[in-house]
């Protein structure tokens, strides 16, 4: 991500010397000591669980007694499990909404907040961020009331504006999916706006002035100056929201229980349901491994393409 420390030695005299000595502390074991607590915890609570997950996925286990080795059977079952396909499809929809709707909307808002001379910018930024601070369960509880069929705020507003209400927000398969997406939008847009706004404020003003001198219009300036300058931020935001949306759980679990007709069942919910409601630990582990491969693989790929996450 940065070149300040790990780049090649600089050629200018005193700065190079200064940097060089600082890079060679007396004890060579010091850096390893500094990073070791993290790796210890990482191995215990990340690496070991992943290995356990891999192993469990090859077994059949109800959570009691000894797991029974079944080889790849869980994966074969997953391949034909309609519920799992639905969970994958729903999760893909949520990911698409996050990346194709939430991210652009956040960019638009950031762009608006970046307008020169905007008053109380900090207030807007803070207010939009508040939903992130609110715990997901509270979000789900509140939106459970908002989307209540008979009395909810959503229907009240509709009735006041258009005289029609009674929309079954959470009871209709496609509306339920849209409702969950709406909650996602509400919850994450402000968070992503923060990143875009920081990125926009880092674009050198001269670039805009140069574009203005060239007579570039708004759209032109946006596509030739703003977007290229925002590339690293965009990469970060896209990967972050991809990973976040791929793990969506609280909203469908609390708002719809995955229904109606599994129209909002997410992969994480599928895993939860298999393990903790149906005692199919091996099966849940196999679904988790599939999720891992998809999320890890895709986000690594995007990282590589866009070049984020390098130490130097």
């Amino acid at each position: 991500m940065t070149t300040a420390i790990a780049g090649p030695p600089r050629s200018t005299g005193d700065r190079a010397d200064e940097a060089d000595t600082a890079r060679r502390p007396k004890s060579s074991w010091a850096p390893y000591l500094f990073i070791s607590p993290f790796y210890l915890l990482y191995i215990l609570f990340m690496l070991v669980p992943i290995v356990v997950s891999l192993w469990l996925s090859l077994t059949e286990w109800v959570g009691l007694g000894t797991p029974h080795w079944v080889g790849l059977r869980n994966y074969r079952l997953l391949a034909t499990d309609i519920s799992f396909h639905r969970a994958l499809g729903n999760t893909a929809v949520f990911v698409l909404v996050a990346v194709c709707v939430v991210v652009p909307l956040a960019l638009l808002i950031a762009q608006a907040l970046n307008t020169r001379g905007l008053r109380v910018r900090d207030l807007w930024r803070t207010a939009y961020f508040v939903p992130v601070v609110v715990s997901p369960i509270l979000v789900a509880l509140i939106f459970g009331l908002v989307f209540d069929r008979q009395f909810g705020l959503a229907n009240s507003v509709l009735r006041a504006l258009f005289g029609t209400g009674g929309v079954d927000w959470l009871g209709d398969p496609s509306l339920a999916k849209a409702s969950i997406a709406l909650v996602m939008l509400w919850r994450w847009t402000g968070y992503l706006t923060v990143f875009f706004l920081a990125g926009l404020q880092n674009v050198p003003r001269e670039l805009y002035e140069a574009a203005a001198l060239d007579g570039a219009g708004r759209l032109r300036t946006f596509s030739t100056v703003t977007l290229p300058a925002l590339k690293p931020v965009t990469a970060f935001v896209v990967v972050t929201s991809f990973i976040g949306a791929a793990q969506i759980f609280e909203e469908p679990y609390l708002l719809t229980g995955g229904g109606p007709a599994e129209s909002t069942l997410s992969v994480t919910m599928f895993i939860y349901r298999a393990a903790f409601q149906r005692q199919q630990f091996g099966y849940a582990a196999a679904a988790a491994v599939v999720l891992f491969v998809l999320v890890f693989g895709l986000s690594r790929l995007v990282n590589r393409l866009l070049g984020i996450g390098r130490a130097s």
Binding site: I5, A22, F38, P49, Y128, V133, L141, V146, S156, F195
Partner: protein, 271 residues
């Protein structure tokens, strides 16, 4: 100014969209049960009542849930912030064999969905009986790669090598330098990370849901959920509880928002 009017209009509309559900919940918590869903919705409760709060405190172990969440979140925050500062400093100010690889491994753990370690972590900590719920509730938040990355970026950008070098010439030990020079300079970033970590743990739902079966060890989100999913959907109590639960989170955020918002974006911006 005239040309700005539409902009402010849009911003205000957005503001309403972002805050309306929360304000509605806040006002609902002060309404008698029958008024919460009254149509048209009324923002100012009339009659105004504290009854929901009173019943929440008298009929539910609300303070115990609250304490459980807060203590767990504080412990998780303390541990993780320290671990992140250490590792962030290690990556930012030293060159060592395997640095790139180790950094890459750390960074890539950002892309590991929690659901992947959910089942095995449960098996390891509960089935083997190794961890008490207290310990287990803290575990998932103690080594966040995100925090290390944030610290590393901040240290690179704001702590000059010359300061560290001067201390080394004076004969200070490496950990001494970290404690007496780096940590104090890191304060703003530590504050930001601490708020973020606190919120992560305080707001967590899935892991406590899986882990805690004994209702005396419920965290706040779990407790509130029981009110919500119970037969009679106690909306009035849920709203009151939701309001109280959100107070520490919002207070922390408002207090440290500048650091938090800037800290969060440090890494992303430089790319």
């Amino acid at each position: 100014m005239r040309t700005r009017l539409p902009l402010y209009g849009v911003l205000v509309l957005l503001l309403l969209a972002f805050l309306a559900p929360l304000l509605w919940a806040l006002s609902g918590s002060f309404k008698p049960r029958g008024d919460i869903f009254a149509y048209p919705p009324r923002l100012i409760p009339d009659p105004f009542t504290l009854d929901n709060y009173q019943r929440l405190f008298s009929g539910q172990p609300f303070w115990r849930w609250f304490l459980m969440s807060t203590v767990v979140a504080l412990a998780a925050t303390a541990v993780s912030v320290f671990v992140c500062a250490l590792a962030g400093y290690g990556f930012a100010k030293f060159r060592f064999a395997g640095r790139k690889l180790l950094f890459g491994v750390m960074f890539s753990s950002l892309s590991i969905p929690f659901a992947v370690i959910l089942v095995p972590l449960f098996v390891m900590l509960v089935k083997t009986g190794l961890g008490s719920p207290w310990f287990a509730l803290i575990v998932p938040w103690v080594a966040p790669a995100f925090g290390i990355f944030m610290m590393q970026q901040y240290i690179v950008q704001s702590i000059p090598d010359s300061v560290l070098e001067a201390a080394r010439i004076d004969g200070a030990g490496e950990f001494g330098i970290f404690r007496t020079i780096v940590l104090p300079l890191l304060r703003p970033a530590l504050g930001a990370l601490a708020v973020w970590q606190f919120l992560q743990s305080y707001n967590s739902f899935l892991w406590p849901l899986v882990l805690v079966s004994d209702s005396s060890q419920y965290t706040l989100p779990l407790g509130l959920q029981t009110l919500f999913v119970s037969e009679q959907r106690q909306y009035d109590l849920v709203l009151a509880g939701a309001v109280i639960a959100v107070v520490p989170a919002v207070a922390l955020f408002v207090l440290l928002r500048k650091q938090l918002l800037e800290g969060l974006s440090t890494g992303a911006v430089k790319g």
